[in-house]
């Protein structure tokens, strides 16, 4: 996975990579796409819920449970950490903590997205190099 992704993705991401095969050569990228589609929806829901007062901490916790679940499954360790903190603030009824953590979560999420986009671009480019090399050998 390399130093580029270290800290952002944990060993669960490597489990995803292990599942990629000839039958599903783009499996990891497809899972990542689903994750970002789903998490964008959740971020939007949480954003809206945080704008309403008083805060419904149960609803917020429920959204964040889903977010944490997806993030755990893809190996998004930094995002997962922020989700955990957010949920702790929900349980404590700490609105300011929720708002602050949510801003951090969005930053980590955006950074992860950029890094994964770059990662998949590099993968595609590497594969193209291999194909070109093989063609040159024929």
């Amino acid at each position: 996975m390399g130093k580029f992704m270290q800290g952002y993705l944990d060993e669960q991401f490597m489990e995803l990579e292990e599942l990629q095969d000839d039958a599903n050569p783009n499996f990891v990228e497809e899972v990542a796409a689903s994750y970002f589609k789903d998490s964008a929806r959740l971020i939007n829901n949480i954003d809206q819920a945080l704008r309403r007062g008083p805060l419904d901490f149960n609803r917020l916790d429920s959204y964040m449970h889903q977010f944490k679940g997806s993030s755990t499954s893809i190996g998004a360790s930094k995002v997962k950490t922020e989700c955990t903190m957010f949920r702790e603030y929900c349980r404590a009824g700490n609105a300011e903590g929720c708002l602050r953590t949510f801003q951090e979560l969005k930053k980590e999420h955006a950074t992860l997205r950029k890094k994964l986009e770059h990662y998949f671009q590099v993968q595609a480019s590497d594969q193209l190099c291999v194909i070109n090399q093989l063609q040159n050998m024929c």
């Binding site: 489990e15 995803l16 599942l19 095969d21 039958a23 689903s34 789903d38 997806s70 755990t72 499954s73």
Partner: protein, 134 residues
Amino acid sequence: MAGEIPNLAESNLRALVVDDNLVNQMMHHKLLDRLGIQNDVVCNGQEAVDVHCSGRNYDLILMDMEMPIMNGIQATKRLREMGIESKIAGVTTRAEEEERKEFMEAGLNDFQEKPLTISKLVSILHNLDFCDQT
């Protein structure tokens, strides 16, 4: 990943993934595929019940706990009330002792904490006597 991954294609096992999260659905489906286990995917406990009412049956059900409409505890109880004897493994991120106990008592045969991996799935299959320990 240590150890060999068993291929259970010849066993003709059928599994049902019950999870409302799309990422988990994709992962669990692929994990089962990798082990040679045909599988269907549904989004909540109610769909799991409905699919059994339609006449389908499964050797193994991977049941998430927290789902909308009907959660994993309710679905497991309902399936057992219907006389469904499939092996049901609870798979959830909620692993506090009380919640785990409640889920097991609903009628599970096994339990694994998410995220599910090949090793954890093989462990489930071994615990439920679907394969020998590798």
